[in-house]
Amino acid sequence: MLAILLIVVAVVTWPLRAEWMARSGDGPEPAGAEDEHRLSELAELEAARDAKYREIRDAELDHRTGKLSEEDFEAIDGTLRGEAIEILRAIDRERDREVATIGER
């Protein structure tokens, strides 16, 4: 039972040990809160991008299977692509910021 207890404590607290070692200068610096936040922003934008791509593909399929007229498709497709480009630009900005932060370090 004691062995199980020790294994449990070791497994659960392992990340804390790694952080403690990093803080005392014996290990690599762990990811900080800023990094986590930036990664979250980036992940959110990438998810938005994937959703937008899916929407573009759906609209194309709707058009090809006759659910969207040529006129409606052109309008919707243009809007969606514009929105996708905006998201891609935001991703680029976020990545530039990431590069700049790494450079500052």
Binding site: V8, V12, P15, A43, A47, D58, T65, I76, R81
Partner: protein
């Protein structure tokens, strides 16, 4: 082993509580190491619960009756296969199963999302561990599976005979997986509301887990229906039992979510609605668990009265109050980004379908809980049955089927008259053709529900087939592949869409089966002697001869039935009723073999168009005088034997009693065989139902569609990078006019 099991539960609770603290501290103080530590608590908890579960299974397999739960739910004669399933037939074992499945699913999901939804995940981890803590707490303090007794019985009470059915091996784990998986979208919903991150990443992650929960819960519900049809001896597959309803409500809720989340993904609309559906589905899954365990409503599926009701009420109250508070707090972030352009659009159809599904949930909730409500208001517990549901559920189901046909063929945002004509002409024509054919065929017009359901079902199937046909056509025009290759490619590249269409077709097939079997069922309750026959829906069913068997597990009284139509042999059915020995001493030494729990083996001939279903209900009263006489004789013999063996060593005493037990077993076998040698009239229930098989076929189609929709799609970005360069628009990373 019992001590180890109890220690594992306590350690599991401590780990879960630590994990909650670590996750919340990590999220609030922005300390990733603590967040990771919290996540590891979930993995560790899963490991501990798996070990605890293995211990419990081991004790069942080796008939360790010092474990109360083993003594109460298994016996030496329980087949090994069912000993493995016996733990979840008990309150204690099923609580442990709940915690184990929850921690396993939570581990898998938190592992898969370890680099996604980074800010939401710690709060979701805390919520999931909160559920785990709750159930582990119940398993420790209210229904501990590792409770033992110092004086174990020599034989266990055995498994409830009704649970001796192959689907019991998989039905509860599927149902529990569905319930536990529903807490995952709930947890991520709470996390998203706390962090305010209710964007694309949350919707993408939550949709997938909601779909998984929908699949498992759906399979669990259908396996339960199948069990009811083939085991319970009443001939139906759905009885609107409170526990059945408890599983159906969250399933309907999450079905609504799977559709409406698409509107949020595409248009940024219905955010409050979607997050509310997720929170409601999670709460309803706990409510379902509560109904099974509290015994507040009588059900054949419930564990009976228990003391678990109050903790569950507290948990459900906290979930409802917390959910409402969070949604109100985040109402500004949940504002819609757009509005519905037209009532003739897929958004509007989805919204209407959502309203129908939620209306169904309200109806089922209200009627299921009406006995409790009436008791609270009037002091009288009014019982309600299936007829109370039908007037509301039938019209709602018809609307739902209609919408499931319109959904796939109507465009997003708005439709034009030309689009409507192009997409609706064929399905409407097929539906009208079906209607006219049915009216001309006769016999259906008297059953309006069935008539409308067949018509709408034809509409849905035609709409889905048209979508596949056009999709394959579009694909072939782009790639010049053969139709089968184009079909496979079409589905592979659009799994969500075409998986969903397959589910819609499956639903139509399933509901056609329900409409046909419930509207055109012929049922006959009759008493027959060997050689006599009865006519049911044109079939002649003859009671050929009785059968009987006495085994250590049960006594079986059955019949062989010959089914003919127009003088031609159709099938031979064998049905029996098994009686399991009771441990009740008041029934007597012989009587206890005839007075215990009983189950039915249904004689079933299932066909694509018709099922012939039979069950025997033998009346054992003619044996009663002989049973009474046997009780007296063996009570006297046992009394004499007990005097004789008093003071003898146990082994010698047992050896002395063996001839008596052998004589008793011969007497029981002799009495059983009288059912064959001196047959008397017995009661049968015969049911001839059309299209029941369509229900199971529809279910299989739904499951395969769900699997296609759930199957992981390669990352769009990766797919884009492998697309031909000519398929891209110059100067843009946005894919241009990819093939369908």
């Amino acid at each position: 082993m019992a001590l180890l099991g109890r220690a594992l539960l306590i350690l599991g609770l401590l780990v879960a509580l630590y994990g909650i603290g670590a996750s919340l501290y990590g999220a609030i103080a922005r300390r990733p190491a603590w967040i990771q530590s919290g996540r590891r608590s979930v993995y560790t908890l899963a490991g501990l619960m798996v070990v605890a579960w293995v211990i419990l299974e081991y004790e069942f397999l080796r008939n360790n009756f010092s474990f109360n739960v083993v003594a109460e739910h298994s016996s030496t004669t329980t087949p090994t296969f069912y000993k493995l399933a016996a733990p979840w037939s008990s309150q204690e074992g099923s609580l442990l199963l709940w915690v184990m499945l929850l921690s396993l699913w939570s581990s898998l999901i938190l592992f898969l999302t370890r680099r996604r939804v980074r800010e939401i995940a710690p709060y979701a981890t805390a919520v999931l561990l909160g559920f785990s803590s709750f159930f582990t707490f119940l398993a420790i303090f209210f229904a501990n599976p590792f409770t033992t007794t110092a004086t174990p019985p020599s034989e266990g009470a055995g498994l409830d005979p009704l649970l001796l059915h192959p689907s019991m091996m998989i039905h509860p784990p599927m149902l529990y997986s569905g319930y536990t998986l529903l807490t995952v979208p709930f947890a991520f919903g709470v996390g998203a509301l706390i962090t305010g991150r209710l964007g694309s990443e949350w919707t993408s992650v939550t949709r997938r887990f909601a779909l998984a929960a929908w699949m498992f819960l759906g399979i669990g519900i259908l396996l339960g229906a199948r069990w009811s049809y083939t085991e319970l001896g009443w001939g139906g597959y759905w009885s609107w039992d409170p526990v059945e309803n408890a599983a159906l409500m969250p399933w309907l809720c999450i079905t609504a979510f799977i559709h409406s989340i698409m509107i949020q993904e595409k248009r940024g609309m219905l955010k409050v609605w979607n997050v509310s559906l997720v929170l409601a589905a999670g709460t309803l899954s706990i409510l379902g668990t509560f109904l099974v365990r509290s015994g507040i409503l009588s059900s054949i599926h419930a564990f009976g009265a228990s003391t678990l009701g109050f903790p569950f009420v507290l948990l459900i109250g906290a979930m409802i109050a917390g959910s409402i508070a969070l949604v109100i707090w985040r109402r500004d972030s949940l504002r819609s980004e757009a509005q519905i352009d037209s009532l003739l659009s897929r958004e509007a159809v989805f919204l209407f379908q959502n309203l129908v599904l939620v209306a169904m949930v309200f109806v089922i909730f209200w009627i299921t809980f009406f006995p409790l409500i009436s008791q609270a208001l009037t002091g009288t517990k009014v019982s309600v049955g299936p007829p109370a549901f039908r007037p509301f559920i039938v019209p709602l189901a018809l609307i739902l089927v209609l919408l499931s046909g319109i959904g796939p063929i109507i465009a997003w945002r708005r439709v034009t008259l030309t689009n409507l004509r192009r997409n609706f002409t064929l399905p409407v024509a097929v539906a009208l053709g079906t209607l006219v054919a049915l009216l001309l065929a006769g016999g259906v017009s008297a059953r309006p529900f069935a008539l409308i359901m067949f018509t709408l079902g034809a509409f849905v199937v035609a709409a889905v087939l048209q979508e596949f046909w056009r999709g394959v056509g579009a694909r072939r025009a782009m790639t010049h592949n053969s139709a089968p290759v184009a079909l496979v490619q079409l589905i592979r590249r659009n799994r969500r869409r075409y998986g969903g269409y397959i589910v819609h077709a499956g639903l139509a097939v399933l509901l056609i089966g329900v409409a046909a079997s419930s509207s055109f069922q012929h049922s006959h309750d009759v008493i027959l002697s060997p050689g006599q026959q009865v006519k049911v829906d044109g079939y002649t069913i003859r009671y050929v001869h009785p059968t009987a068997a006495a085994t250590p597990q049960k006594l079986s009284f059955g019949a062989v039935l010959d089914v003919t139509k127009g003088g031609k042999h159709v099938t031979t059915l064998r049905t029996s009723r098994g009686f399991y020995p009771s441990q009740d001493p008041t029934l007597g030494q012989i009587g206890r073999f005839f007075g215990g729990e009983a189950d039915s083996d249904v004689g079933l001939r299932a066909g694509l168009f018709k099922d012939i279903w039979s069950v025997i209900n033998p009346n054992l009263t003619p044996l009663q005088p002989l049973i009474n006489q046997g009780n007296r004789v063996f009570a006297a013999a046992l009394s004499q034997a007990m005097t004789r063996i008093a003071g003898l060593p146990v082994a010698q005493a047992n050896a002395d009693l063996t001839p008596l037990w052998q004589a008793r077993d011969r007497a029981v076998a002799g009495l059983t065989s009288r059912f064959v040698t001196h047959p008397w009239p017995v009661e049968f229930l015969f049911i001839v139902s059309p299209l029941v098989t369509w229900i199971w076929l529809g279910a299989l189609i739904i499951v395969s569609g769900g699997l296609i929709a759930l199957w992981p799609v390669p990352a769009l970005a990766r797919r884009r990078s492998t697309a031909p360069a000519t398929a891209r628009r110059p100067g843009s990373a946005v894919p241009a006019r990819e093939p369908a």
